[in-house]
Symmetry: C2
């Protein structure tokens, strides 16, 4: 089979490898599509070399079909369409015992801490599988994992029908959060710097504001939200941009007792306006990965057409073009690129 490896030095390599049979309790998956995630770009950049053993098969946003069953696996059949919730918890740490297994204190994130989906045949523990409906295409199903991130963020915010939400940052996760929030009955405004992204987001039916050039709305984004919410402020603000300035300004959109969800990863401490947090009794929440119900909800939303999957998938390319796909995403030239993992495989 063909497999892609992160080889260090900003390089992805593709080569032949011998597929292993599934071990006891494992399922072998014929990987169909694998989306490239922001975390994968971080790995390529070398920022996560302390965590990732080189060479590493990465990839965790995937879809596929069951190819073989290991010893003792029940409830699955060859050919079943599946995705994987790539979290392996220890079940014994204080977080697990308190019911927060998804953020286990010793979490193994499959595709980062252990081998991922960028290979023709992938063996995973059967309990990580999530069943896909036959009505959902495997291309769209490769978006289940990032959509589950968005569902988790929206559920963590306790967003309710009729709420007004501001999403700062209109990349793939920002757009997914906006779409999920809309499907939950919220009204959504997206704030995005990039002109092309703003156009695409507007095409999806969202109000989208440029935080720098206020002429489009003839007022500042804060004034816009103030007026939109009749002086109250937004119920929920999602910080998805990763920018320090966005963190500093995010609290200005929120209503009294409003919620700010920190979705983006901020490797360095960021100045936060705690005076505003105090004055309005705001709630700032961290949100990380997902729980199984988030995966199930994500599948339901994708299957119902509530997620703009085709608009998000900029391109689908074979495994042999993985380096250029990573480079295009790093350069900000695409939203989501899927790798067709079967293309070029001998047994495809």
């Amino acid at each position: 089979m063909l497999a892609a490896h992160y080889a260090g030095n900003r390089t992805m390599t593709v080569g032949e490898a011998e597929p292993a049979p599934p071990g006891p309790g494992q399922v072998q998956i014929a990987v169909a599509y694998n989306g490239i995630c922001g975390t994968d770009l971080h790995i390529l950049s070398g920022h996560m070399d302390a965590r990732v053993d080189v060479p590493a098969i990465i990839g965790h946003e995937m879809s596929g079909t069951v190819a073989a069953l290991g010893e003792g696996v029940e409830g699955w059949a060859v050919g079943d369409p599946v995705t994987v919730m790539p979290l392996a918890w220890d079940g014994t740490c204080p977080a697990c015992l308190a019911g927060n297994r998804h953020i286990c204190q010793n979490l193994d994130f499959v595709g980062i801490d252990s081998p991922g989906a960028l290979q023709g045949r992938w063996n995973v523990d059967a309990n990580l599988l999530v069943r896909l409906p036959g009505t959902l295409s495997l291309q769209h199903a490769a978006l289940v994992e990032p959509t589950a991130v968005a569902v988790h963020d929206v559920r963590r915010a306790e967003l309710a029908p009729g709420d007004k939400a501001v999403v700062i940052g209109g990349g793939p996760i920002g757009v997914l959060i906006a779409a999920v929030a809309r499907s939950f009955g919220a009204e959504v405004v997206v704030i995005e710097l990039d002109d092309k992204r703003r156009e695409r987001i507007a095409d999806l039916g969202f109000t989208v504001l440029d935080p720098r050039d206020d002429t489009a709305v003839e007022k500042s984004t804060v004034a816009y939200v103030e007026e939109w919410t009749e002086g109250a402020g937004a119920d929920v603000v999602f910080e998805v941009s990763g920018a320090a300035a966005a963190v500093l300004g995010a609290v200005d959109y929120a209503k009294v007792r409003g919620t700010l969800v920190v979705v983006a990863i901020h490797p360095e401490p960021r100045p936060v306006n705690l005076q505003r947090v105090f004055w309005r009794e705001l709630r700032l929440l961290g949100a990380r990965v997902y729980q199984r119900e988030d995966f199930e909800k994500a599948i339901e939303l994708l299957d119902a057409g509530d997620i703009p999957a085709d608009a998000l998938i900029t391109a689908t390319v074979p495994l042999s073009e993985i380096q250029s796909a990573f480079d295009a995403l790093t350069a900000g030239e695409a939203m989501k690129i899927l790798i067709d993992v079967q293309a070029g495989q001998e047994n495809a």
Copy 2:
């Protein structure tokens, strides 16, 4: 009557003034004791001159008795012991309409935005009065307002019996939070820089750690909390110090899905470790003033002896010594100083 005024230029003056009769709906209070609060020190420092009209009668931590009733006031009698919840909301802003009147978007904080309790006779709207039990001394009752702040912080954190809480900063509010948290059934560790304060807090039966000198516990405060909580981290962390370093480090004490309550006022944006907030799905909450149930709970706790009132009250001095009381507090030489507002009054 005698009244104290903030006269600008770091100065409190005391002078004669003519008491006004209570207006319709108002009650005239013979003020007994008034505690000096951190906010009063901020006013004296000049930092709040944009908000406070000079000369201003300030003061909002008080106890007294009803001296006269204005037109239309029912349910109160001359001599009734009372305190005042010094919040006047407009009842019409989005925050009020959503049930958050205590942080009304146009809140009048009585004693800052309108005249306060540092005068022999004080007229306030009858609906701000809170009844005191005859069993509670008027000196201890002057601590109802800051105790209500602590009750509000603890309730906002949803602290539960058996929880483990870390209080960063052992000033008056920090000690009150520790005492209230203990009364709610939590185990509490206080972190405090000042040697004398640490001694006093230890005398109250709390575990108290020095964040600089780790020899007392032979490990860092983070390692101490890690061990104390059997590897989980604290359920709740209260940031009461106001220090930037404390904000940065506070998240390291918290368990997965733990809560950090920002109690101290941070006029400047503070670096926050959002990576940790994300990684552990922490919850950071602003908490401001109090609601009526916080006042009622504070009275109950003080009346039951659950609050170390005598240990907190460093001194009680007459109105004529107010400047030196402010100066001693500004210099950090005292925890809480009460002003005996009746001492020296002609009609005392």
